[in-house]
């Protein structure tokens, strides 16, 4: 059975299924979405215009029995960065796509009728564009309505932020509990909104199953892989117990927790929003400490967070969100952050970009640092209703800085920096500067060696070794994103050669190929270069691989360090 490409053209309202071209056959996930964008999207097109496309693709291993392989990639030209974008997430859709033989879904064109809104319904051998009345609804209501009588279906949807084409709008993916995981960064929700697509529903059919060439070998390799994940102290114990938010205290202690719009590396309120505090609150209130974003996750870094009366408040409440809306805004009230997180899920807006933009607005005096009520109001009233302030924040940190005349605006290629100060964690600064995605920690998570001492130790305050570290990680990550593996498998991969062997064995057993570990890495390298090439054609050059000036001018306490890489040093990143 050969996988197919499913395509929907909103200009003609036609949808069809086509064969996968030879050159895309060996790709999945990020490799595939980026290849489609690079070959089909005019680099100078307007991201919200008819020439942009939105591509969804499950990873190469998604839908199989292998652990932590259920990641879905989305790609297109980003309205936030104006460069290529790939964002990936858990949820149930990647596995449903892969099992139905859907190699990718490509959404293109713009509808002529400005007052009609659509959904796309796909299952094995079928794709339809349908009109919808769900436009204007939140993500939760949308998912609930579509899942009624069809609980097992996958849903990919946008909230009102995507409908309003906000550059920080994300795309939601239904998780196994009917809640939400997000294709978070880069504003792909606005691209979906521009095409008047409210949702994609993927319906499972009986007997849907991923074809595996050599099931016996695959099973063996998958077992070895799961074992390596469980044996590693981070994925086997650290992540499931305290989740990603353990990093609040780690980064505070390391002096790299960006606080009040990147003006310090320490936050005095760190303890109140820490993973330890959150863990105790979750247990006390009857939430869930461990939770997987898709079936088959053996790590379960996620959780369910209840309010003080024991009622559900939010899930998937991760470090990045808690940092962006907490420390970065000087807010230490965890319950109001959880409330805001759930709202942002429903509205469909990236929590990192929103937190960063609000912090910039706080810097400008629009509201005070630490004003948790003000933060909630901006989300609940301004962004949700699209007031002028809501539109400004929803356009991201860079626009917010411009509108309010702020000079300390932490963005690269128009995308806000996440939760690690690049002056005090220099390796991640190289990733922020060079990633074709804009400032993105997941693109090459140098925090591993810089802070967590996983995969060797490289001093975060020194320049030595950082470029090579970021390069190796960015290449490896592009490979993992192509395979559909969750980034948190990387801890085991970095420390244990068997994990990488198992991945290579699984890829080979699945497709009957005979690639090596080196081939997997050169695949990652070629994906990165392809993405950079798109950006060049879209008008980017090496000057776009720079951090904002203030990082070289202002010292970051407590270590009082600045960003001190030369242009030549940064550019040497691309010597591979």
């Amino acid at each position: 059975m050969n996988d197919k490409i499913y395509r929907a053209d909103l200009s003609t309202l036609k949808a069809w299924i086509e064969d996968v071209p030879e050159n895309l056959n060996s790709l999945g996930g990020r490799g595939l979405t980026s290849a489609v964008v690079a070959s089909e999207v005019e680099p100078l097109c307007h991201p919200l215009g008819k020439n942009n496309k939105l591509v969804f693709a499950p990873g190469l291993l998604s839908g199989t029995t292998a652990a932590n392989t259920g990641r879905l990639s989305a790609g297109g030209k980003s309205p936030l960065t104006k460069g290529i974008k790939e964002s990936n997430s858990g949820g149930t859709s990647a596995q449903l796509f892969a099992r139905a033989g859907i190699k990718a879904l490509i959404i293109e064109g713009l509808p002529e009728n400005k007052n009609e809104y659509y959904g796309i319904r796909i299952r094995k051998d079928s794709i339809e564009i349908e009109k919808t009345h769900l436009w204007g609804k939140g993500n939760f209501e949308t998912i609930e309505a579509l899942s009624k009588g069809n609980e097992k279906c996958g849903v990919i949807s946008i909230g009102v932020a995507g409908e309003m084409k906000m550059a920080a709008a994300n795309i939601s993916v239904k998780d196994p509990q009917g809640k939400i995981r997000s294709l978070g960064r880069g504003g792909l929700g606005a691209v979906m909104g521009s095409k008047h697509i409210k949702y994609v529903v993927v319906e499972p059919s009986e007997n849907d199953q991923v074809h595996v060439e050599d099931p016996v070998k695959f099973k063996e390799a998958a077992k070895k892989f799961a074992k390596a994940l469980m044996a590693h102290p981070v994925s086997g114990e650290g992540l499931p117990t305290y989740g990603t938010n353990i990093l609040t205290n780690v980064l505070h202690e390391a002096g790299g927790l960006p606080t009040r719009n990147f003006s310090s590396g320490n936050f005095e309120g760190h303890d109140k929003i820490s993973g330890e505090t959150m863990h105790d609150l979750i247990e006390e209130r009857g939430g869930k400490v461990k939770h997987g974003c898709h079936a088959g996750c053996v790590i379960q870094c996620s959780q369910v967070y209840n309010d003080k009366d024991g009622n559900y408040l939010t899930s998937g409440f991760e470090y990045e969100t808690i940092w962006a809306t907490g420390a970065n805004c000087g807010i230490s009230d965890l319950d109001s952050l959880a409330y805001a997180d759930n709202l942002m899920d429903d509205i469909g807006i990236d929590t990192i970009e929103t937190g960063a933009a609000v912090a910039v607005a706080m810097e400008a005096g629009v509201l005070e640092f630490g004003d948790s009520k003000g933060f909630v109001k901006i989300v609940e009233q301004d962004i949700k209703n699209g007031t002028p302030l809501g539109r400004i924040i929803g356009a991201g940190a860079e626009v917010t800085g411009k509108v309010f005349g702020v000079t300390r605006v932490p963005v690269v290629k128009g995308q806000a920096l996440p939760a690690y100060d690049p002056r005090a964690v220099k390796g991640i600064g190289i990733t922020y500067a060079t990633s074709p995605m804009g400032a993105d920690h997941t693109a090459g998570y140098s925090v591993t060696s810089n802070i967590l001492s996983v995969g060797g130790f490289i001093d975060p305050l020194k320049k030595e070794g950082q470029i090579e570290l970021s390069r190796n990680l960015q290449i490896a990550t592009a490979s993992l994103d192509t395979a559909g593996l969750c980034i948190f498998t990387a801890f085991a991969i970095l420390d244990n050669a068997e994990a990488m062997e198992a991945i290579v064995d699984m890829l080979n057993a699945k497709s009957g190929s005979s690639i090596t570990g080196d081939d997997v890495m050169s695949l990652g390298a070629s994906v990165l270069k392809m993405e950079r090439e798109f950006n060049k054609r879209a008008g980017f050059n090496e000057k776009d691989d720079r951090l904002p000036e203030f990082f070289s001018l202002e010292k970051c306490p407590p270590h009082n360090v600045i960003w001190d890489f030369t242009d030549e040093e940064i550019d040497s990143f691309w010597n591979f």
């Binding site: 102290p233 981070v234 650290g238 353990i246 780690v250 202690e253 390391a254 993973g275 130790f457 001093d459």
Partner: protein, 74 residues
């Protein structure tokens, strides 16, 4: 001399969160771990004054030591 010790995650169980302890001169980070009965292999990240302890294995009066198990996230 006086050293401030901060413990995190499961290391707090049956121990403490933060405490000032009195130790003899030339006490090392390893000595502190022994004192607290924390297996060195389980201590994933150790900071001394916010720097990884590799930079300063032997302590001075007034130093702050922060000890985490092996953790990760992102």
């Amino acid at each position: 001399m006086k050293i401030r010790v901060k413990l995190f995650a499961q290391f707090r169980k049956n121990r403490f969160k933060e405490k000032e302890i009195e130790v003899s001169e030339d006490t090392s980070v390893s000595d502190i771990l022994k004192l607290l009965e924390i297996d060195e292999k389980e201590a994933g990240i150790i900071f001394v004054n916010g720097r990884h302890f590799e930079n300063k294995p032997v302590l001075e009066n007034g130093d702050q030591v922060s000890i985490f198990p092996v953790v990760g996230g992102g």
